[in-house]
């Protein structure tokens, strides 16, 4: 009797311990098809966006070369246009801290650390060009590279200068500024190339194959990314912090995105919202395919939560309306009527509990990386 019981216990425990991850295909007609979701998101949303960013960064590179050859205002304007095009595409890729992008930077913001930490610290740039000793790979320069650094280099005025162009012509450190500009562009291209190569060579198949339900499963990471991006990249960074929501004592206009270009903050915010909405609804990037595929909305509908899909899309639409009512230039908006910006924030904020509480509960993904025991 005892032996039988012991044998039984051993067998069952052995089963329980080996139950972790050795499942093969997950294409069952009855269950939700995660492979289809991950394939759609990878092939039609994420990779086309990164590839587009690559081509837009190539245009920035070309414009930089032209500008360095002929440092004219017209060429600087052309560089500015190329920068804006790339910056808009960036808003679509910033969500995806996955694979190589996640490995870069190390911290919770991953590759965003190298592309879009703002406000830019101008003193760091000026000091770097003056001494000529700097390493863009170190954390000290996270806030002195990427799109915000280009924003300053293209549109900002350096200490003692009168025009943006002076940095590259009359400034005593004009050679330093020119080198720094090239270095920043090269750094962005290098990093984005690494991310794309990683996706194309191996990560795409890893990502799609990882239908694991745990913390490290692809879907779980994607779900965390959309929530994080909405809450931090979009809501807090673009609207909340400049509106003074998180600080005591008034607005912080110097923290708006594209502070030196000024009149594109709204445009960039709207792009970021589109990126998040498209991911939620499975809409292909830039219409690479005309039909939307499987994503969060499809998954929620599969679980009979059409109510939640409607609520979330309504919140996105309300946020878009609120942003549309703002000035193109957020610094102008803040000085004219900061209350309107705060009101927009409140509307955008209303989607956070929907994503973070309702959607999280419906899809039962793990929102943080705490691995304590449950009850």
């Amino acid at each position: 009797m005892l032996k039988k019981i012991i044998l039984f216990v051993i067998v069952v425990i052995a089963i329980s311990c080996s139950s972790s991850d050795d499942n093969g295909s997950s294409n069952n007609d009855d269950g939700f098809d995660r492979t289809a979701l991950l394939t759609n998101v990878a092939d039609n949303i994420i990779m086309p966006a990164f590839q587009d960013l690559q081509s837009k960064l190539a245009s920035v590179d070309a414009a930089t070369t032209s500008f360095i050859t002929d440092k004219s205002t017209a060429n600087l304007d052309a560089l500015s246009d190329a920068w804006l095009e790339a910056y808009k595409v960036w808003q679509h890729v910033q969500i995806y801290n996955l694979g190589e992008a996640d490995n870069l930077g190390g911290g919770e913001r991953g590759f965003v650390s190298f592309f879009n930490i703002y406000p830019v610290t101008v003193a760091d740039i000026e000091n770097a060009v003056n001494t000529g000793s700097y390493d863009l790979n170190t954390a000290n320069y996270h806030d002195a590279q990427g799109f915000p650094a280009l924003d300053f280099l293209i549109h900002g005025v350096a200490t003692n200068d009168t025009l943006p162009l002076d940095k590259f012509t009359t400034n005593s450190d004009f050679e330093g500024f020119t080198t720094y500009l090239t270095d920043v562009v090269n750094q962005m291209i290098t990093l984005n190339t690494a991310i794309i190569n990683n996706w194309e060579s191996s990560f795409r198949s890893t990502f799609i194959a990882n239908t694991d339900s745990g913390v490290n499963g692809s879907f779980n990471k994607l779900a965390n990314d959309i929530v994080y991006s909405y809450e931090k990249d979009f809501r807090a960074q673009k609207i909340g912090i400049p509106a003074g929501i998180f600080s005591n004592g008034g607005t912080l206009p110097e923290t708006v995105e594209a502070f030196y270009k000024k009149d594109v903050s709204k445009e960039l915010s709207l792009e970021a919202l589109s990126g998040i909405e498209n991911l939620f609804n499975g809409i292909p990037y830039n219409s690479v395919s005309s039909i939307s595929g499987s994503s969060f909305s499809v998954y929620l509908e599969f679980l009979d939560r059409e109510d939640l899909v409607t609520e979330i899309n309504n919140q996105f639409a309300a946020g878009r309306n609120a942003i549309n009512s703002l000035n193109d230039d957020y610094t102008q908006q803040l000085s004219d009527n900061s209350i309107q910006m705060t009101a927009a924030y409140d509307i955008i904020q209303a989607a956070v509990p929907k994503l973070k509480v309702d959607m999280k509960q419906a899809l039962n993904f793990v929102i943080d990386y705490v691995d304590g025991d449950g009850d």
């Binding site: 009797m1 005892l2 019981i5 039984f8 216990v9 069952v12 425990i13 089963i15 329980s16 139950s19 991850d21 050795d22 499942n23 997950s26 069952n28 009855d30 269950g31 939700f32 995660r34 239908t211 694991d212 339900s213 745990g214 499963g217 909340g240 003074g244 929501i245 998180f246 600080s247 005591n248 004592g249 679980l303 109510d307 939640l308 609520e311 904020q349 956070v352 509990p353 929907k354 973070k356 509480v357 309702d358 999280k360 509960q361 419906a362 899809l363 039962n364 993904f365 929102i367 943080d368 990386y369 705490v370 691995d371 304590g372 025991d373 449950g374 009850d375």
Partner: protein, 454 residues
């Protein structure tokens, strides 16, 4: 009646089951401490947080810096002593105190399982678990092959209470008629071999699991007590707990329960288990000595029995305290803890704190991660006592930073068992002015639904 009781209290039984229970308990506790330590949770859960959520009345219990490791070491050492039955009385009291202290340090980590360990180790302080097959007996050259029958029955009673109350808690409309929260939890376990793709998302399966879970909890104490169904019951215990282990991240608990329920078996089963240990000890060729046999006698029974009787009265009554509070228990959680309500709800929240200057009406929002770990934030967001304690912490913090006329408000949304999230806390109440107490918190907004049942 009294005579019968006296007769019962005087009756003796074989000491082997209690000895095996002691060994099993020691092994499990030692393993739990080692596991907790090796996963880095001491640092992550107790040392990294800047702030701890305290139980009402136990605000003085805090982690003690790097000495916290020493506390865990002490607890683990006590478990080892319990395992071998060396200085048992001191060891079990040390274990109870150190383990309970650890649990009181931060209520973020509250689990019914930990509470069960505290309660059980308290009970074991009064039991002669070292009477037989222990180092104590070896050193004393005396072992007690017979111990009072009640000392084993009382453990069965505690185990039975835990199961039965967990079953009673499942008698509610969400669990039985909506299959909640299993309907949310099971489909996300699609990657379990075989059943992951075939059963986990089926509605009938969610209901089958809900109902069988409820029936299991209510019936298992009786099936274990009754000799004819005992073996079947143990098989069920193993299946049930292993299944929960596969589905949910519940650590050591399933194994602890499986080992604990062995106590329901007859002494001859335990003697066989002890014979296995004896074989191991003999193979080590240690010096053996012949022990004289005696029956265990309680010298302080007149004090101990009333203490334990009172203890069980409290155990049986305490889980019902929730009826004294208005509103839905799952929503307010007033009287929810320490009541064997295990895996009953999927609840998540979002709490956005606003610090206001009452004079100038200037305000700003708080980033919770500046003060809390992600785990603390998650637990805080849907439990009113956490929200209140944190609001006071924030108020004190900003006051000490020189902010004037500090008011603390919260925008909080909570979703329970798949319902759409609803506002949870009155956003117009300055929580900094509210005091913690056992009274109902009238700033919790009503639950716009009803969950029927116990």
């Amino acid at each position: 009646m009294l005579a019968k009781l006296k007769l019962y209290l005087d009756s003796n039984t074989n000491a082997a089951p209690l000895a095996v229970f002691r060994i099993g308990f020691g092994v499990m506790m030692l393993a739990s401490i080692i596991r907790f330590w090796s996963l880095g949770w001491i640092d992550k859960l107790y040392l990294q947080p800047k702030f701890q959520f305290s139980y009402y009345g136990f605000q003085w219990v805090k982690p003690i810096g790097s000495y916290t490791y020493l506390l865990f070491a002490l607890c683990g050492l006590a478990a080892l002593f319990i395992l071998i039955g060396f200085k048992y009385r001191i060891a079990i009291i040390t274990f109870f105190l150190s383990f309970t202290y650890i649990e009181l340090m931060d209520k973020t980590t509250y689990l019914n399982h930990y509470y069960f360990i505290s309660v059980l180790s308290f009970l074991m302080c009064f039991l002669p678990a070292n009477a037989y097959f222990s180092v104590d007996a070896y050193l004393k050259k005396t072992h007690y092959k017979q111990i009072p029958k009640w000392t084993i029955d009382i453990i069965k009673l505690l185990l039975g209470t835990v199961y039965f109350y967990a079953g009673l808690a499942k008698l509610n409309s969400d669990w039985l008629f909506k299959a909640m929260p299993l309907k949310i939890w099971l489909p996300s376990k699609y990657d379990i071999p075989i059943i992951g793709q075939t059963l986990m998302h089926k509605e009938w399966f969610h209901f089958a699991m809900s109902w069988s879970g409820m029936l299991y909890d209510l019936a298992i104490p009786f099936l274990l007590l009754y000799k004819k169904t005992r073996t079947l019951a143990f098989v069920l215990v193993v299946i049930f707990h292993v299944f929960t282990r596969i589905l949910f991240p519940i650590g050591m608990f399933p194994y602890i329960m499986i080992i604990s329920t062995l106590i329901f078996f007859d002494a001859n089963v335990h003697e066989k288990i002890l014979n296995v240990f004896r074989g191991v000890i003999q193979s080590l060729k240690l010096k053996t000595r012949r022990l004289s046999e005696q029956s265990y006698f309680y010298s302080k029974r007149k004090i101990i029995i009333p203490i334990l009787a009172l203890f069980f009265v409290v155990q049986l009554v305490f889980p019902w305290r929730y009826v004294l509070y208005p509103n839905e228990l799952f929503w307010t959680e007033e009287g929810y803890r320490f009541s064997w309500r295990v895996m009953l709800m999927e609840k998540a929240g979002y709490a956005n704190f606003k610090i206001v200057n009452s004079e100038t009406k200037d305000f700003f929002y708080v980033d919770n991660l500046d003060f809390l770990t992600p785990f603390q934030e998650k637990q805080m967001s849907f439990q009113p006592d956490f929200i209140l304690e944190y609001a006071h912490y924030l108020g004190d913090h900003f006051k000490s930073q020189g902010h004037q006329n500090v008011q603390v408000f919260v925008d909080c949304f909570v979703a329970l068992n798949g319902r759409l999230s609803q506002p949870y806390i009155d956003p117009n109440v300055d929580l900094y002015q509210e005091k913690e107490s056992f009274k109902h918190k009238n700033w919790i907004l009503p639950f716009n639904d009803e969950i029927k049942g116990l």
